[in-house]
């Protein structure tokens, strides 16, 4: 195989690993959130246990990228590509960490009845998983217009975050006896919002890759 062909082949392989990692992380988020809604603590525990698989996959991607860099000594543009793969893997791995955090909060809330509707949180989590799937598609297809849409989604998530936190604050004023649960709910909201941030980070890397400079979609 020619050097170029070998390089493209390796990039493809690493991209497949990233796709696998992304799917695992997004699934972990979905399962963790469903477990929270359904108070299915066995499912929450499963998410916590399975996180090690996601962590290991990220390490594999790291090692593989370093190996390609060393062996094939790619030129600047290709290197940038590899660096961006590394960074995207790190962001997706963190989504798995937040799934774990949600699982832990869920266990803390326990069998106590939800003192408020969790519909807004459900919407927010659903939108976040859509964002994560879309950004990873955009990444693989190098679809710039899809990547740019992510920034708009992120603004919506930030707004949802603000609304939910304000709602929870108001709730504290009428149900002070439930402050523990309200605090846990606010943490879950925060973890979801961070997952959306990671989707935005990945969109930024893609724009950086294509245009050769970093864009800050979070501003």
């Amino acid at each position: 195989m020619a050097a170029r062909e070998r390089f493209d082949h390796e990039i493809q392989a690493i991209q497949s690993e990233l796709l696998k990692l992304s799917n695992l992380s997004i699934q972990a988020l979905e399962i963790s959130f469903t477990a929270f809604i359904e108070k299915d603590f066995d499912k929450s525990k499963l998410v916590i246990e399975q996180d090690v698989v996601i962590n290991r996959l990220e390490e594999e991607i790291n090692d593989r990228v370093i190996l390609v860099m060393t062996r094939q000594q790619p030129v600047a543009k290709d290197l940038r590509r590899l660096v961006v793969l590394l960074k995207a893997a790190a962001d997706m791995e963190r989504v798995g960490d937040y799934a774990v955090n949600i699982a832990k909060e869920s266990i803390r809330i326990g069998n106590e009845r939800f003192i408020t509707s969790v519909e807004l949180l459900e919407d927010m989590c659903f939108k976040t998983t859509v964002m994560l799937r879309q950004v990873i598609e955009a990444f693989v297809d190098e679809n710039m217009s899809k990547a740019k849409e992510i920034a708009e989604y992120d603004d919506q998530i930030d707004e949802m975050y603000g609304n939910i936190i304000t709602h929870l604050m108001r709730l504290s004023s009428v149900a002070p006896e439930s402050i523990s649960q309200i605090t846990y709910l606010s943490f879950i909201c925060r973890y979801i919002e961070r997952c959306a941030d990671h989707a935005t980070n990945i969109a930024e890397y893609l724009l950086y890759l294509k245009k050769g400079q970093r864009f800050d979609l979070n501003q």
Copy 2:
């Protein structure tokens, strides 16, 4: 200059840039927080305007790392070092972003009197800047024991975060008319906690670099 010497020289230079970036970001956090306490909105605006300098410095580090990778084609261990420099720069740049976010919340709160003591927030922000300085020292000196201490600090920050949020929730129940300010204060608390998270990330990279595997101190 021999190849090895040239490489070490470049690594040193990039490390100096990272140190500069870190100092700017930590300063931005400190200035932004002081401006928040003192209600000095001109200072807050300055932090927002100056963030572009931090962003540009991160881009320069990115480009410089890619250049060294291409020109000097380093072996695996050296590549890992460069990748870790890239990642640390990204984390430090985000600290600058959170300083901007704090400045924006501060302007939103405006001249309204603080409805609660901000002492806990001050403690938390102070501890976070100590963590950030320590992790960057640990990084430059490759001091493992210092890096490991960061994980303990991070647990303290998480605890402080929990205490402050619970306090703010309680406050909402007795001062429902101040829910906007309470929400803004909770956002500031969240931004500080994220800065501490970034310090923990950098500590993890260092451990990864030394031991050749990724450690998850956030767990």
